[in-house]
Symmetry: C2
Subunit: 324 residues, 2 copies
């Protein structure tokens, strides 16, 4: 896993993934007490950065392997990213989702061309189902984060940040990244190590689900006690990956955490000041910049909004509680 893989992924992705802008607002700067720069991956195809990793992984396969199709386990953003990347490559995708996944997510994933296979969380093993289908059809598994070509795809966000920040004269800043398994965080960290070495990547997680922060602190992989029960579901995993963690350990600063309320409040700020729709887990980096500014240093902070796939009801909650 190295910078050359990220640059190669950037080449393959060009013209397919969106080169998202770098946004700011004087109103956000005022809250944060420093300049806040926002990389809105909610504007990426399928509404999250996951399309980059999906495209990178698919485009890295040799043609014969790819033609047989791919498979992924996901009920969320990774599912949609892989589904659209596969359809764009003209190859089949199978997405294994729990049968109690929201109907809308299932419908969206199907609409993006995937064959959705539902399994019963209690009675069935998704791994067994996936393994059987992979073997039978020769499908390639696209893991959500602990996979070099996926990390390389997410790392293209970091290449863009380095270029865009430099256009504003910024070469030194903390770069705060919403962190689940660490694919996006480690990819960005590798990209910035090469292209903006004075920037420091810091992961942010929901309070109570800070496996990465604790792992970084202790120097070894730590797990969460639970993997559900927080509105920031998109960024909650059991623990950092075996590939992503060593990268984060080598390159990242200490982890940050924010509360659910801070995530909702950041969603309301993204709505009114940036005209963006952020999902709770996608808003935690902005939340930390706005509401944990005492834990951040420097004149500029760069935050990634990792996704915007939130249903209308939850978005309305954010607005009724914190909107203006």
């Amino acid at each position: 896993m190295n910078i050359d893989m990220i640059r190669a992924a950037a080449q393959r992705i060009q013209g397919h993934a969106r080169y998202t802008p770098l946004l700011n607002s004087p109103f956000l700067d005022e809250i944060a007490g420093r300049r806040v720069w926002v990389k809105p991956e909610c504007l990426q195809h399928t509404g999250s950065f996951k399309f980059r990793g999906g495209w990178s992984a698919l485009s890295a396969l040799d043609e014969q392997t790819r033609a047989k199709g791919v498979i992924a386990f996901s009920s969320g953003n990774h599912a949609q990213g892989v589904a659209l990347a596969a359809r764009s490559h003209g190859v089949p995708s199978v997405i294994i989702m729990p049968s109690d996944a929201p109907a809308l997510k299932i419908a969206n994933t199907k609409a993006l061309g995937a064959e959705v296979v539902l399994y019963d969380r209690d009675g069935e093993s998704r791994d067994a189902i996936g393994a059987a289908m992979s073997k039978e059809r020769g499908l390639t598994l696209i893991k959500p984060y602990d996979e070099p070509e996926v990390i390389a795809g997410q790392g293209t966000v970091g290449l863009e940040i380095a270029t865009q920040a430099a256009e504003h004269g910024i070469t030194k800043a903390e770069v705060i990244v919403c962190c689940g398994g660490g694919g996006l965080t480690s990819g960005i960290a590798l990209a910035l190590e090469a292209d903006a070495p004075d920037m420091l990547v810091r992961p942010v997680e929901p309070e109570g689900f800070d496996d990465v922060a604790r792992s970084l602190k202790d120097g070894v992989i730590r797990s969460n006690a639970a993997t559900s029960g927080n509105i920031c579901d998109a960024v909650i995993t059991l623990q950092p990956g075996d590939i992503t963690f060593p990268i984060m350990k080598r390159l990242c600063g200490s982890g940050l955490t924010v509360s659910e309320d801070e995530a909702l409040q950041a969603m309301a700020q993204a709505f009114s000041r940036l005209k963006l729709v952020a999902e709770p887990g996608g808003a935690i980096a902005l939340a930390s910049a706005l509401y944990r500014s005492d834990q951040i240093t420097g004149d500029d902070v760069i935050v990634v909004i990792s996704g915007g796939n939130v249903d209308a009801a939850l978005f309305q909650t954010a607005l009724s509680r914190f909107g203006v």
Copy 2:
């Protein structure tokens, strides 16, 4: 008023206004029955395209004149666009607003550095107040649309559309533009006449406030019976401008109209499929592409989302009625 002025404005704006992306979604394509391309000016500084016109007008002034400051009459997007453009140029701005304007809009305009002067709609003449202040301080009036350098600034949206569409292989399409006084519409029409002559600009207005559609049909300027009483307030003016109308008459196709409900429904679609916040008047071009597709021709349609300055309560209404 000609293409050279738009190209000159583009030069002056470069690095100051945002080059907004061109977005799409397979889900929107499916509703519309053709490919829908969205130019999201809600992502522009101050949340609307008005910043372009403000910057263009300010940057076109000679230094001595500019240093004295500018003045504008507006309670909405033009106010914020001019205020920020003036502050960015380091010169004062005075914005004349009705005393019953929403407190938030007044606060935002002040926060962007403007001196806000309130007048009583019933008892005072804003023109008299503005004229007195202009004379006293040597302020230059920046009109909202019937001003060549403002039209030139808005026209830069058209230059970008031509370039971005060509990157997707599109040179022929209807381009639907949310239309008030016609500054954005006429500017885009002039830009596309030069850079994408096979594209046809069509204005869209709220039902019952279709002064531009009727003016185009009759070949002479027609007025609205009222200028308030519709949620699409940002795009409602009494009639097209004396400068903008002849341009639209020469270059535009017939006007479209949409209902308030269609505007709200398009806002909900922009939320879920593009992760964008559109204001009602800013969503009417998307609404026409989605819900009036029988009045549009071609494989591709390009729509401008002109702004995103909507308060949380009204956005929640759109989501509760039409969100998923």
